[in-house]
Amino acid sequence: MNLGSYVALSAALFLIGVFGALTRRNIIGILMAIELMFNAANINLAAFNRYLHPGGIIGQTLALFIISIAAAEVVVGLSLVLAIYRNTDTVYVEDYNLLKG
């Protein structure tokens, strides 16, 4: 296996995530697509660590930080979604227009 296979896999996962974040109407679907993008970045970090810096662990350390930040992000994001749903009674982002004058 060479590095290119892993980078190609992570590029595919990232692009699927971008497509999902751009096209989903459901706000939870957008959050899930963002999680896919986080995971693509983590695959890249672990793969570059293995192939370009063998014996080092800086890439894995960074990926570990990304996992914990992503956990914090999804917790706050989901509680915000719950609060918004309580106010607007919908999960579709095109109806979130309370700030529109």
Binding site: N2, L3, L9, V18, T23, N26, Y51, I57, T61
Partner: protein, 164 residues
């Protein structure tokens, strides 16, 4: 040979389930496929010799985030959502953005492509613990602060109006 079989089956699992996450009409199915996709990414970590990342991925992502998203999916929405289209009208523009990015990514893949692994895989849990308590002690503590802030923020935003 074995590595290639494992890699290609994991890659097929990850891309197929990620596509289902993005395109499934039923959000519950999306959340289930998200768990499958994250478990596949954990398998990729194991293949890359990142054993602690594999364990963390399974515990935090599959056991935590996917289950949390599942709960929220079940709390929100209504049954009529199953008959509505879940994709907005700009899907063609989104495909265009993805194709343009793919050209850039393809250059990176071509550039980085040829590198081969030189060292055998070694367990990294011990060195990761040492580096967290050594060079990266300050970011480690900052992350714990961020997690505490996220916990408080989640409680603050999700409490009901009556209890305020």
């Amino acid at each position: 040979m074995l590595e290639q079989i494992v890699f290609y089956s994991l890659a097929a699992l990850i891309t197929a389930s990620a596509l289902m996450v993005v395109t499934a009409r039923n959000t519950v199915h999306s959340a289930l496929f998200l768990g499958l996709c994250l478990a596949g990414v954990g398998g990729i970590f194991a293949l890359l010799g990142a054993d602690f990342l594999f364990a963390g991925q399974i515990m935090v992502y599959v056991g935590g985030i996917a289950v949390l998203i599942m709960f929220v999916v079940m709390l929100l929405g209504r049954a009529s959502d199953l008959h509505l289209r879940q994709m907005n009208k700009q899907w063609a523009a989104a495909l265009l953005v993805c194709a343009a990015s793919l050209a850039g990514f393809w250059k990176i893949v071509r550039m980085a492509g040829g590198a081969l692994a030189t060292a055998p895989v070694k367990p990294t849990t011990g060195p990761l613990g040492l580096i967290m308590m050594g060079d990266y002690a300050l970011p480690f503590e900052l992350v714990s602060l961020v997690l505490t802030g996220a916990l408080l923020g989640a409680i603050f935003f999700s409490r009901s109006e009556k209890s305020q």
